[in-house]
Amino acid sequence: MSVAERSPEDIAARADYFQTMIEMQLSASGFRDTDLLYHPEMPNILAHVYFALTNSYKNLYLNPGSRTDSAKRAALTCVTIAAVAPIRPDPGKNRLDEEAELYANPMLAMRCACSIVRHPFHKRTWDDQRRIYRALINYRLDCVEKVLEKIRKSNGKIDFEVSVDITEEDEAKLNLLIDDFVVYSYLTYPIQWER
């Protein structure tokens, strides 16, 4: 398993982060009584896709060695979760809660991304939230789809170097979302003293 320019430790740390966030989402009051679950390889897949997307985006916009800023990291995290959609209904059971099934991944995506820029998205109006959630429900990137297809063939195991080539269409979608997160990063809640 690998992504160019990333150590196995970096990838494992990010996979742990994604796993903790998925568990947090599935334990939330709106989701804990549902049959939603995730494949054990999903956190690792998310970590690989995130770093591959970041590398590809950096090749387009940044000088070698530069780090992406918080708004970009938030947007790329959001996109990764939306495109991979790690939380799924139990395939062996009847679908009982379609609303939760539909919204689990977009809500996870916004939870993760907004905690990176400390934006209180959850306090915005219902209609505002719905527009973003609906956009994320159907968010797909061609470059990520190609990698996911390859990963499916290996039953979730990643035994190759993951890389993506962001297409011009993907780039347009990404840039619009990154710009949203640049604005979100100006609208934040303060760091709490308990931390």
Partner: protein, 68 residues
């Protein structure tokens, strides 16, 4: 118990050396989050309860509007 008009309450304020030493031994929290992931998880955990409640309300509102 001194009364509130005790003139000693107007004397220059001095704290005991012991209290000063004790306070000065305090250091920044070594357990504060350091990596990106630790910082993000701490921020997410801090907002978790409120976000969970509002997500549930969002889904309830979705169901309510869908029934109309």
């Amino acid at each position: 118990m001194p009364s509130a008009d005790d003139p000693r309450l107007l004397a220059p304020f001095k704290v005991s050396g012991k209290a000063v030493d004790h306070e000065r031994n305090v250091r920044d929290d070594n357990n504060a989050p350091k990596t990106d992931e630790q910082i993000w998880l701490a921020a997410a955990a801090e907002q978790n309860e409120e976000i969970s409640t509002l997500e549930e309300k969002y889904l309830d509102e979705l169901r309510r509007r869908a029934k109309k």
